[in-house]
């Protein structure tokens, strides 16, 4: 096994161009687990853990978050609650100090906690390779399947960017433990009052992150009616309907972490609460 530690982004891209089979190492919190399980035995590892180019984090109206930004830094700087609350649920302090946004995107699991939030923030992922330079991928096109990111050989993730969406956003995650647990179901909801959009994205209830579009439309309708600048106080019936629409979008399965029935149930519970909480937020 060969381990390369390039000193610059260009050098890293050069190594990847030479050896497109090389496996990237950022915080290693997914990769090392896979190696320890014997699921993968990479011949060549390229460490991008220390590349300064991947650590940029610009906040404000327009957020740019480098692939190498750890959860701990993200928690300190980013203001979008959906992403902050997602980052807060990741692992333990040790994992949050090591794990990166780029690693979550690279692993591309439907249980990746930042992914529903990136979907609900309508983030764009910028990737780069030596051959084709930079390429921008909307989040909706990122997950080609479970563990199948839209990365071409020789490419790595540079950053994610999105527009800050105001305070009406939430992330909820259900699991069988009160911390450090893989999501049994998760939900991110962003009500961007300024831009008059609602986005709801679901994690761990299907092979990829799922956008609950019918539910989004329903919430949009409620806000159109009640006024985007005003608090939304959905009736019980509206909440229930919203929950049903979200649950209908889910495609959960039974596995050792939870049953499909529970996933469908709890995603509806979380949806009702998300509608309430985002509705109450300014």
């Amino acid at each position: 096994m060969q381990v390369s530690v390039p000193k610059s982004l260009d050098a890293a891209l050069g190594l990847l161009a030479e050896d497109p089979q090389a496996v990237l190492l950022a915080g290693g919190t997914d990769l090392m687990v896979a190696i320890n399980f014997g699921r993968t035995r990479p011949e060549h590892i390229v460490s991008i853990a220390r590349l300064p180019e991947l650590k940029e984090l610009a906040t404000g109206e327009q957020v740019r978050c480098g692939a190498g930004v750890t959860y701990t830094r993200l928690l300190e700087r980013v203001r979008d609650r959906a992403l902050v609350d997602a980052a807060r649920t990741v692992g333990s302090p040790q994992i949050r100090n090591a794990g990166t946004l780029g690693g979550n995107l690279g692993t591309c699991s439907p249980a990746g906690d930042t992914l529903p939030s990136l979907a609900a923030l309508d983030a764009t992922i910028t990737v780069a390779s030596q051959r084709s330079g930079e390429r921008r991928v909307p989040f909706s096109g990122w997950m080609r399947g479970p563990k199948k990111p839209a990365l071409e050989p020789g490419e790595l993730v540079l950053r994610a960017d999105w527009e800050e969406a105001g305070p009406a956003q939430v992330f909820l995650k259900a699991g069988t433990r009160n911390a450090m647990v893989i999501a049994v179901a998760s939900l991110a909801m962003v009500v961007d009052r300024a831009r008059r959009t609602v986005r709801v994205a679901l994690g761990s209830v299907g092979p990829t992150i799922i956008r609950a579009t019918a539910a989004e439309e329903m919430a949009t309708g409620l806000l159109d009616e009640g006024g985007w600048e005003r608090p939304l106080m959905p009736t019980e019936a509206a909440q229930a309907r919203f929950g049903e629409l979200v649950a209908a979008a889910a495609r959960p399965i039974d596995d050792q972490r939870g049953t499909g029935a529970y996933r469908r149930h709890v995603i509806a519970v979380m949806a009702r609460r998300a509608l309430q909480r985002t509705g109450a937020a300014p």
């Binding site: 687990v33 320890n36 399980f37 014997g38 609350d85 807060r88 649920t89 333990s92 939430v170 992330f171 909820l172 995650k173 259900a174 699991g175 069988t176 433990r177 009160n178 911390a179 450090m180 647990v181 893989i182 999501a183 049994v184 998760s186 050792q256 972490r257 939870g258 049953t259 029935a261 529970y262 149930h265 709890v266 519970v269 979380m270 609460r273 909480r277």
Partner: protein, 764 residues
Amino acid sequence: MRTRGGVGESIPRPDGPDKVSGRFSFGSDLTAPGMLFGKTLRSPHAHALIRSIDVEKAAGMPGVKAVLTAADLPGERLYSLHQPPDQPVLAASGEEVRYAGEPVAIVAAEHPEQARAAVQAIAVDYEVLEPLLDPVEAIRRGSVLRELTIRSGEPDTPADVVVDGYYEVGQQDQAPLGPEAGLAIPTPHGGIDLWVATQALHVDLEQVEACLGMRAGAVRLHLGGVGGAFGAREDLSIQVHACLLALRTGRPVKMWYGREESFTGHVHRHPAWMWYSTGAGRDGRLVFVKATILLDGGAYASSSGAVVANAACFGAGPYRVPNALVWSGAARTNTVPNGAMRGFGAVQSCFAYEGQMDLLAARLGLDPIEIRLKNAIRPGDRLITGQAVTGAAPMAKLIDLCRELPEPPTPAHPLALPGGAGNVASAAEVVRGTGFAVGFKNIAYSEGSDDYATARVRLQRGADGEAFAQVKTAAAEVGQGLVTVCLQVARTELGVEAVEIERADTTVGNAGSSSASRQTWMTGGAVREAARLVAAEVLKRAGPPAQALAAGHVLDEEGAPLAPIALFLDEPIEREFEHHHRPTSGLDPAGQGDAHVSFMFVAHRATVDVDPEAGLARVAQVATAQDVGRAINPLQVHGQIEGGIAQGVGLATMEEIKLKDGLIRNASFTDYIIPTSLDMPEVAAVLVEEPEPDAPYGAKGVGEPPLISSPAAIAAALRAATGRRLNRVPVSPDELAGLTECRPGWLVRPGRSPAEAVQPAPQG
């Protein structure tokens, strides 16, 4: 004059600083120059016939020094904690593998990766057979490891009210952080030294000698650093395999399991299916308990027999039960063997009998605590086995003290809400529930075993001219703090503060296992007696008016110092003592007999916060009062209580090995989840110190009670919060949210064998 750091003081552990700073050497840290690495090939099938094993390719691979199969075994081919042994050291060609994970071949190579590659290159031709997985079906077919019935009084006595209940307990893993590990080093004279993380050096030794076909004395065992045990290290794991490879290659061989392999490489807590019927008078006094307690023993006997007996003996609870009929048994199936785990059978039946007490209380309109008080066992009462409780039995006092402990405030921080960091619940969605449970269990070995422990104590003058003592036993420090106990006992008896606890090995007599909450009593007792013999010799040498020893001095009868102890140590003094506890007897065909030496009692009250809609819970507090006899080291007792409660929270709310077709689906700490610090409740504990007449210093064991009734109390609290039945632990989110209920797959008459089980009529 007073000796500091003796019995009763909360002195720090001697191995504490090394353990918390990462300097302590655990089993997996063992190393020797020129060592090879051993790996095990295991069956991927729950049940199969081995048609052939071809090791040729593997044996020729780079770095590979040995590939061994059953054909290479020099001694006994079977081993077990049970007699006669039934578990193959390696499954042989032409024979069956009986669980997924059963060892088939072992490899030693220069590098662990080479050993791993060689294991994968061994070609085994299996004929896959139908696995027997349903324990009721197994009993119906006579596939039984042990069954017994306890009958006392007239179980068919009519009662004013009768409640029937069905309960299940999932399969819990001991989840020690240190995986199985050891290092075998051949000696120049054909013998072997084995360093191993174990619970019982001599119990291992006997089995290793037999399987290696070696005479007594050729094998020596040394304790490797143990990273948690909880029962998982009572059965052999790497012991024989590492020795075989070392003997074959003439090189040191290290073996250690990864986390995934560890899940199939040790036994687990028996999952249980229990049918109960409990009768009481209108006043709440128990009239009868009838119970069927079915355990899955897995493929081999291990300690199933003793677990079956414990589940039965304690199966009616620490109550006055005039009439009882209890059937308890373990099925032999094609799953990973089940055996010892902290609580050892008493945990499973406690979950059922305490569920029954709550049902009774509800039916009678009584407070759950009142009904327990009304029935609480008292000194002199007889258990359902006919045995009188002769020692301390402060059950009612424990209940009273536990109920009086202050309850926790409602959660102030969002992380303390059910679901914690997941942000699902807000305070408005949370309801609180409280539950109460009590339990009891035996200390030490039962049913007529000759249970003893040996200690050697040496007192001499050190290079500094001061007296110092050395204590040698073969007892395993497994994290419980036995080294501290031995140190405190030696200080108290010898009046010498400089005491060294030597490393445990088999060059001294048997100490038995660090299990059954027995080592403080057994090895602590042996150290006390050996030290008393040494002290007597010092006093003899000093002559009158010497009366006692303390703070390094010989004292007169007024307690005034006469001379330093070191003055009498021109010759060192060494004494050895073998400490046996009072003999016990077996159980007769009606399950009657004085099978146990002593009992420990405990009460738990759990407070939980639940989000019933989302099916999420957090245990806010577990309050407990525990009968400890005497706390040799109160700080360590509290440590045991907190640790046991953590495992109780795990069993009640999350920990379960999930099997599919006999294969473990969650053999990792990613998917076998154990409580984190955010899941750990506040613990409020009071110790009740009523000295046990037979026990050294009056000290009972303390390790197991924290885990006996804490799961039952937590389940009761979850029921109180949700109004749901929750008759299975770990309670699933589905059950908590009311999506499903646990129903029996078979109908069994409580007290009768599941051999008579019938299938329930289909639903709807």
